[in-house]
């Protein structure tokens, strides 16, 4: 197997040794390698493990963190990384046997969403009738991982299948094997892994995507998402999620069990920095204020000095008290404290890969698409990716196809790309619509919201559409 171009001058062809001379490096072959053990990667693993056609495949699950430690998860307070689990994702979790293993007491169902315009305060109420299944659950990311991991390990114990956790794994580089063109993952912890299909469920900065040279066009929003874990004084609205569309970005209040809650505040980066620098009690007041006050008021408060927060505290107390006395719209329960060190922020962007699959490579979850958190669908679309990929692979195996072949993977790409693209576009436009501070736009927008709020049929239709999955 050598090039003959220069060999005319050579009398004897050069013999190349095809066998590896460094036999000390272990090599393993897998059918499928999943890189990333977030909820999406684990959901894919569990999906493959429970599917009758794919369960006999040899699957490796890699991560640079020791994910197996999540089995010992014994938390005191709620994590600041929470997601909403829509009905469709929940039913997938149930089918793959993971839902029952999650800590149920840490899941908060909600049946109402109140969305309101930050300028005119006109509200849209999404309400579900009382005795129906909740439209969504709030869950901590780690709780989802916990349930998924336990279900995978339990099945592995029982059936002794070939689903291997190679964690923590330090990936040095990924190449294509010179003989078979299969992806070869060179690690310093587990030797070299060759795989027929490499799945990137490794998040925003996916190395699998980089290896496959798949472009991810998009744009960064001039915004950061600030999150944290809260406690409320009195949880009089346990199953209501709130979202206020301020011109600086949407602010969401999401209920958790008991008197706990979490929030996501999308805001300009420099203001996010200020918010993170505030002392805890002042921040709590500011957050309460952000659900009540006009933007003009908030602008003034943002400009105040934060090093000496006494004046800021006084102003916040006064404004909150004044507004509460003449409140004409629904607001979340009063927040009483924030769990220390739970405040964090991350940059927001919208991005979507051009291709979800290439020969022997597939991407799912955040590795393939990033969206604004305003509709809480980032992880849900990722879970549906995992479901779709499982189905595509199951179908491929049934037809005797190589799981890494592009023909096996194309149906997955086809089933997810357009839907995800539409969703990303809609979320982006909503974000842009509510970022406009123009009074004409806000009047028209509020009118639209009021009319929409009054048409319960349309609301129900949209709610069921989102619940059934994007």
């Amino acid at each position: 197997m050598m090039r003959m171009s220069n060999s005319a001058l050579r009398i004897y062809p050069k013999l190349t040794r095809l066998f590896a001379t460094q036999t000390s490096i272990p090599k393993s072959d897998y059918d499928i390698t999943i890189v990333g053990t977030g909820p999406v990667g684990l959901a894919l693993a569990a999906g493959l493990q429970t599917n009758p056609y794919t369960r006999s495949l040899k699957v490796a699950i890699l991560d640079n963190k020791n994910t197996l430690m999540i089995q010992d998860w014994n938390p005191t307070s709620y994590s600041n990384r929470c997601v909403s689990v829509m009905a469709r994702s929940r039913s997938f979790f149930e089918r793959i046997g993971a839902w029952e293993h999650m800590r149920q007491e840490r899941l908060q169902p909600f049946q109402h969403i109140y969305a309101y315009d930050g300028i005119t305060n006109s509200t849209v109420h999404f309400d579900q009738p009382k005795n129906t299944d909740p439209m969504a659950f709030m869950a901590e990311n780690v709780n989802l991982q916990y349930g998924l991991l336990r279900s995978i390990l339990k099945r592995k114990d029982i059936r002794q299948d070939n689903f291997d956790f190679l964690v923590p794994c330090n990936i040095e580089k990924i190449t294509r094997d010179e003989n078979t063109n299969a992806p070869s993952i060179h690690t310093s912890t587990h030797g070299v892994l060759r795989t027929r299909l490499l799945v990137g469920a490794d998040g925003r900065n996916s190395i699998v995507r980089q290896f496959a040279k798949i472009a991810m066009p998009g744009w960064a929003y001039p915004a950061h998402g600030v999150v944290g874990t809260l406690r409320v004084a009195q949880n009089n609205l346990p199953s209501v999620a709130f979202q206020r569309f301020l011109p600086t970005g949407p602010l969401a209040y999401l209920p958790l069990p008991g008197n706990n809650a979490t929030f996501v505040w999308s805001i300009y980066p420099e203001l996010a920095k200020k918010l993170l620098a505030l002392p805890d009690p002042t921040f709590v007041k500011f957050l309460n204020a952000a659900f009540l006050l006009d933007q003009v008021d908030l602008d003034y408060l943002f400009k105040m000095d934060i090093v000496e927060p006494n004046n800021l505290d006084k102003q916040l107390d006064w404004r909150i008290e004044t507004k509460r006395r003449s409140l004409s719209f629904d607001t979340p329960p009063q927040i009483s404290e924030i769990v220390p060190n739970s405040r964090a922020s991350f940059p927001l962007r919208m991005a979507h890969v051009d291709e979800y699959v290439k020969e022997s490579v597939a991407l799912c979850g955040d590795a393939a698409h990033n969206t604004h958190p305003l509709a809480g669908q980032g992880m849900n679309t990722g879970i549906q990716d995992a479901e779709a990929l499982t189905n595509a692979l199951s179908s491929a195996i049934q037809h005797g196809q190589d799981p890494g072949s592009i023909f096996s993977l194309q149906p997955y790409y086809r089933s997810r790309y357009f839907k995800n693209h539409v969703y990303l576009g809609v979320a982006d436009k909503f974000h842009k619509l509510y970022a406009l501070d123009n009074s004409v736009v806000s009047s028209v927008r509020s009118l639209g919201m009021s009319l929409f709020d009054r048409s319960s049929k349309v609301k129900q239709a949209i709610l069921s559409m989102v619940a059934k999955g994007i």
Binding site: D294, Y300, Q315, R325, S326
Partner: protein
């Protein structure tokens, strides 16, 4: 008219003592009615008050409130909610102040024109309590503009101040008075008004600080020229 309103009133709760909630139709009628009465009988101060109350919502008072909320002194006024009455200003004390101070000029003007700060009727038709206070403050400060700019309370003087208020703060009651009021002037007065006072009012209204953000009670012992400079306003040109 009051009786009719009370009979037709909706079952909306009042938000503060003295509040009279109105439905949109009632509001339209009240604006029209008080505007017409105010034009026919400009000495009816209560008609102008009613016009101010009912026409300020929903947009104009809110805008003025926002201007107050963006200003440090404005916020202080909103927090402390001072009211201008003869008791709160302590008129006897003002009479002892030096001649060049705002307080002394104000009290001299009050005595000369035979008016009193207590004649302002309370706000009734504004729904939000904070906006109601803004309207009240707006009315109560009116005399200070006269004193500051050295304007008499005859028709030209009042109209000039109304123009100033409208250009500076944008409330419709100012606009309505400013536009229709001059019809009551005779030819000579109207000509003078157009030539001198309207330009004065527009010029100063645009340049001056938003007048509602001035904490008058704290400026009383200050020299009047200093106050004028701080607010960026000129004294009125003489009438003749």
């Amino acid at each position: 008219m009051n009786v009719i309103i009370h009979i037709v009133i909706l079952a909306k709760k009042p938000n503060y003592p003295g509040h009279v909630p109105l439905s949109p139709l009632q509001r339209i009628f009240l604006v029209a009615g008080s505007a017409i009465m105010g034009l026919k009988a400009p000495w009816r101060g209560d008609m102008i008050s009613i016009l101010g109350d009912s026409s300020g919502q929903p947009f104009f008072l809110r805008r003025l409130l926002k201007q107050m909320l963006s200003d440090e002194t404005g916020r202080q006024i909103l927090m402390e909610k001072p009211r201008i009455t003869s008791a709160s200003l302590n008129l006897p004390f003002l009479r002892t102040l030096p001649l060049n101070t705002l307080g002394r000029i104000y009290v001299d003007w009050i005595d000369r024109e035979h008016v009193s700060p207590d004649t302002r009727s309370p706000t009734r038709y504004v729904d939000d309590p904070e906006e109601a206070y803004v309207m009240q403050r707006y009315r109560e400060c009116h005399d200070f503009y006269h004193a500051l700019c050295h304007m008499p309370t005859n028709i030209e003087g009042e109209l000039a101040i109304k123009w100033l208020e409208f250009v500076n703060m944008g409330l419709p009651v100012g606009a309505l008075s400013a536009l229709f009021g001059p019809f009551r002037l005779n030819c000579n007065q109207a000509a003078l008004f157009r030539k001198i006072y309207i330009p004065w009012a527009v010029r100063n209204g645009l340049v001056a600080k938003t007048l509602i953000n001035v904490y008058w009670e704290k400026e009383l012992t200050r020299d009047i020229n200093e106050v004028r400079q701080k607010i960026r306003i000129e004294a009125a040109p003489p009438l003749h």
